[in-house]
C-alpha cells in the first residue's frame, strides 16, 4: 500500500512537470521573433499571407492566449504535437518513427556507462593511491573534459576511417536488407560507436562519483563494525561499502538522464543515427520550430520516464523509503 502511494505520488509529479514543460513550450513558441503562425510554418518572414491566415484560423491563433494555451495543452494530452510543414507530416508521427532508435542508443549507453562506471569507480576506490586508481582517475578526468561530438569524430576517424573496423554512419547497412539475426547483428555493429561515445562521458561521471562515495562510506562506523566481526575484505566491500555507496550514484544517474538525452542530439547528429536527436538537428537546420519544440517536449518526457525508473530502483535498494512512507 505504501509502495503504491509512493509510485502514485511520483507519477503524479511527473505529469505535473510534463504539463509545466508544455506550458514553457507554448511560451517559447510565442517568444520566437515574428508571427507565431510563421514560426509554426517554419517560414519566418517568407510565407504568403493567405496561407498564414489559414494557419491562424486553423490553430485559433487569433484567439486570446489562454484559449490558445488550453487548446495546445489539450492537444499535447492527446499526443497531438502539431504539424511539421517542412516534412509535411504530423510532429507526433515523425517523433514516434524515430523514437525507437533513440531509446536503443540512450538505453545502451546508459546501461553500459553505469555498469562500467560503477565497476571502474569501485576498483579505483579499492586500489586507492595505487596505479590502477591513478589510471582510472586520469582516464575519467580526460573523458569528463572531452567534448562529446569531438570524441565521436575522433572515433570515426580511428575506427572507421583508419582501422575500418566499424561502420560510422546510420543504424544499418543501406541496401543490404538484412532480416532477423543478421539484421540484429548489423544494427549492433552500427550501435557500437555511437553508444560507446555517448557512454564514455557518463561512465567518467559515474566512475568519479562511485570512487568518491566508496571512499566516504569506507570511513563510516558500520564498516568498522563489519571489520570487528572478523568479516573478510570481499564481503565488507560488497555488502557494506558498495551497497551504501551506490545510493548517491543512483540519485546522480537519475539526474543525469536529461544529460544523456541531450548528449544523444550530438551523437546522433555526428553518426547520422536516425533518432529524435538527429530529427532535432534537422529541425534546427530548417528552422522547423514546431518540430523542434515537439522533440524538446518528448525528450523531456523521456527524462521524466528515466527519473521514474530511478525512483523505482531506489525502492529496491533502500528499505528506508518504503517503510517510512
Amino acid at each position: 500500500m505504501a509502495i503504491a502511494g509512493y509510485i502514485l505520488a511520483r507519477v503524479f509529479k511527473a505529469i505535473l512537470v510534463l504539463i509545466a514543460i508544455a506550458v514553457l513550450n507554448f511560451v517559447l513558441i510565442h517568444a520566437a521573433p515574428g508571427d507565431p503562425a510563421a514560426v509554426m510554418a517554419g517560414e519566418a518572414g517568407a510565407a504568403d499571407e493567405i496561407f498564414l491566415q489559414q494557419l491562424k484560423e486553423k490553430f485559433g491563433l487569433d484567439q486570446p492566449y489562454h484559449v490558445q494555451l488550453w487548446n495546445y495543452l489539450a492537444g499535447v494530452l492527446q499526443l497531438d504535437l502539431g504539424f511539421s510543414y517542412r516534412q509535411e507530416m504530423p510532429v507526433a508521427q515523425l517523433i514516434m518513427d524515430r523514437l525507437p532508435a533513440t531509446l536503443l542508443l540512450t538505453g545502451t549507453a546508459f546501461v553500459v556507462s553505469i555498469l562500467l562506471g560503477v565497476m571502474l569507480g569501485a576498483l579505483a576506490a579499492v586500489r586507492v593511491g595505487r596505479w590502477a586508481d591513478s589510471a582510472i582517475t586520469t582516464l575519467a578526468l580526460l573523458f569528463y573534459a572531452t567534448p562529446l561530438f569531438w570524441i565521436a569524430l575522433m572515433a570515426i576517424l580511428l575506427f572507421s576511417v583508419q582501422l575500418e573496423w566499424l561502420p560510422a554512419y546510420g543504424i544499418e547497412t543501406i541496401g543490404a536488407n538484412y532480416t532477423g539475426w543478421a539484421q540484429a547483428m548489423d544494427v549492433a555493429q552500427h550501435l557500437v560507436l555511437p553508444a560507446a561515445t555517448l557512454g564514455l562521458f557518463f561512465m567518467a561521471v559515474y566512475a568519479r562519483m562511485t570512487r568518491a562515495s566508496m571512499l566516504e562510506t569506507a570511513g563510516q562506523d558500520f564498516v568498522k563494525t563489519a571489520k570487528a566481526k572478523g568479516l573478510g575484505e570481499g564481503p565488507i566491500l560488497r555488502r557494506h561499502i558498495l551497497r551504501n555507496a551506490i545510493l548517491p550514484v543512483v540519485t546522480l544517474a537519475g539526474l543525469q538522464a536529461g544529460q544523456i538525452v541531450g548528449g544523444a542530439i550530438l551523437t546522433e547528429t555526428v553518426f547520422a543515427w536516425p533518432g529524435i536527436g538527429r530529427l532535432m538537428f534537422d529541425a534546427l537546420l530548417q528552422r522547423d520550430y514546431n518540430l523542434l519544440l515537439g522533440v524538446f517536449l518528448v525528450s523531456s518526457a523521456l527524462v521524466l520516464f528515466f527519473n521514474l525508473v530511478t525512483d523505482l530502483l531506489y525502492l529496491v535498494v533502500d528499505p528506508r523509503i518504503t517503510l517510512t512512507q
Binding site: 514543460i21 517559447l28 561530438f149 544529460q259 542530439i265 532535432m280 523542434l292 524538446f296
Partner: protein, 289 residues
C-alpha cells in the same frame, strides 16, 4: 597586526594545500596559457580569423607561419584557435557569473526561509533540472537567434540549478548552526545574518563548483556552435569542428586542433576545481588520498 598576519598565513596555507595537488598546478599553468593567448590574439594574428589567407586544405607545417594548416576556405586555423580562446573564456566566465547570480539568491532564500519558500523554490529548481539541459539550450538559442548574449543566457539558464541546490543545502545546515542562532538572538537582521554569518561560510564549495561550471559552460558553448548555433560573427572552436565535420576524411587537422584546445582548456579548469577543493575543504580532501 594580528589580522594581517592571519590573512597572510591563511593565503599561504591555501597556496600550500593547492600546490600539493600536482594536477592543479598543471591546470593553472594551462589556463594561464589559454588566457594569455586569448589576450594577445590580435597581436599574434592581426588579420581577422575569417579572412582567407592561404590556399584551402593546407595541412599543418606545410608553409612557415601556418603551423596548424588552413581550413576549407583557406582560413588560418591558428588564428581560429587564438580567437576561439577569447570566445570560450568569455562565454564560460560570463555565463557562470550569470548562473551564480540566479542560483545563489534562489538557493539562499530557499535554505534560509525554509518552509513554503523552500518548497516552491525547490520545485522550480527541480523543474529546470528535469528538462534536458542541452535540448533546452538549443531551443532557447534557436528561438532567440544565435548571438553571444543569447548563448550566455541559454547556458546560464541551464547551469544555475546545481548552484541553487548547493547553496540551499549549505544554508539549510548553517541556518540551524548554533552561531547563526546566536546571531538571531543578538537582534541582527535577516540580511545581516545572511551576508555576514552564512554566506561567507558557503563560499568555498560555491567557488569549487563555479570553476567546474566554467568548464561545463565551455563544453556547452562548443556543442552549440558545433551544431551551428554559435554567434555568426565570432570564431569559436566548436564552429571550426562543425565546419570541418564533412571533410573529416580528407583533413583531420581541421577538427583535431580545435578539439584538443577544448579538451585542454576544460581539463585544466577541472584540475583547478579539484585543487581548489583540496585547498578550501581540507577535511574532505584528506579522505580521498
Amino acid at each position: 597586526m594580528t589580522s594581517i598576519s592571519n590573512k597572510a598565513t591563511g593565503a599561504r596555507d591555501f597556496w600550500r594545500r593547492y600546490t600539493r595537488n600536482r594536477g592543479a598546478i598543471i591546470g593553472l599553468a594551462l589556463v594561464w596559457i589559454v588566457i594569455i593567448v586569448a589576450l594577445i590574439a590580435p597581436l599574434l594574428y592581426p588579420q581577422s580569423p575569417w579572412r582567407m589567407v592561404q590556399r584551402p586544405f593546407m595541412p599543418p607545417f606545410a608553409v612557415d607561419g601556418f603551423w596548424f594548416g588552413t581550413d576549407t576556405l583557406g582560413r588560418d586555423i591558428g588564428a581560429g584557435l587564438a580567437y576561439g580562446a577569447r570566445v570560450s573564456l568569455l562565454i564560460g566566465l560570463v555565463s557562470t557569473f550569470v548562473a551564480l547570480l540566479i542560483g545563489i539568491p534562489i538557493g539562499a532564500a530557499a535554505g534560509y526561509f525554509g518552509g513554503r519558500w523552500d518548497d516552491a523554490l525547490m520545485r522550480f529548481t527541480e523543474f529546470f533540472q528535469t528538462i534536458p539541459s542541452f535540448a533546452l539550450a538549443i531551443v532557447l538559442v534557436a528561438i532567440l537567434e544565435p548571438s553571444l548574449s543569447s548563448i550566455v543566457l541559454a547556458i546560464a539558464l541551464v547551469a544555475w540549478p546545481p548552484v541553487a541546490r548547493l547553496v540551499r543545502g549549505e544554508f539549510l545546515s548553517l541556518r540551524s548552526r548554533e552561531y547563526v542562532q546566536a546571531a538571531v538572538l543578538t537582534g541582527q537582521s535577516s540580511l545581516a545574518i545572511i551576508f555576514k554569518q552564512i554566506l561567507p561560510n558557503t563560499l568555498s564549495p560555491v567557488i569549487v563548483l563555479a570553476s567546474l561550471m566554467v568548464a561545463t559552460a565551455i563544453l556547452l558553448e562548443s556543442s552549440l556552435s558545433f551544431l551551428g548555433l554559435g554567434d555568426p560573427n565570432v570564431m569559436s572552436w566548436g564552429y571550426m569542428i562543425g565546419a570541418a565535420r564533412t571533410v573529416l576524411r580528407q583533413a583531420w587537422w581541421m577538427s583535431v586542433f580545435p578539439g584538443v584546445a577544448i579538451l585542454l582548456t576544460v581539463l585544466a579548469l577541472n584540475l583547478i576545481g579539484e585543487g581548489l577543493n583540496d585547498a578550501l575543504n581540507p577535511r574532505l580532501a584528506r579522505k580521498g588520498r
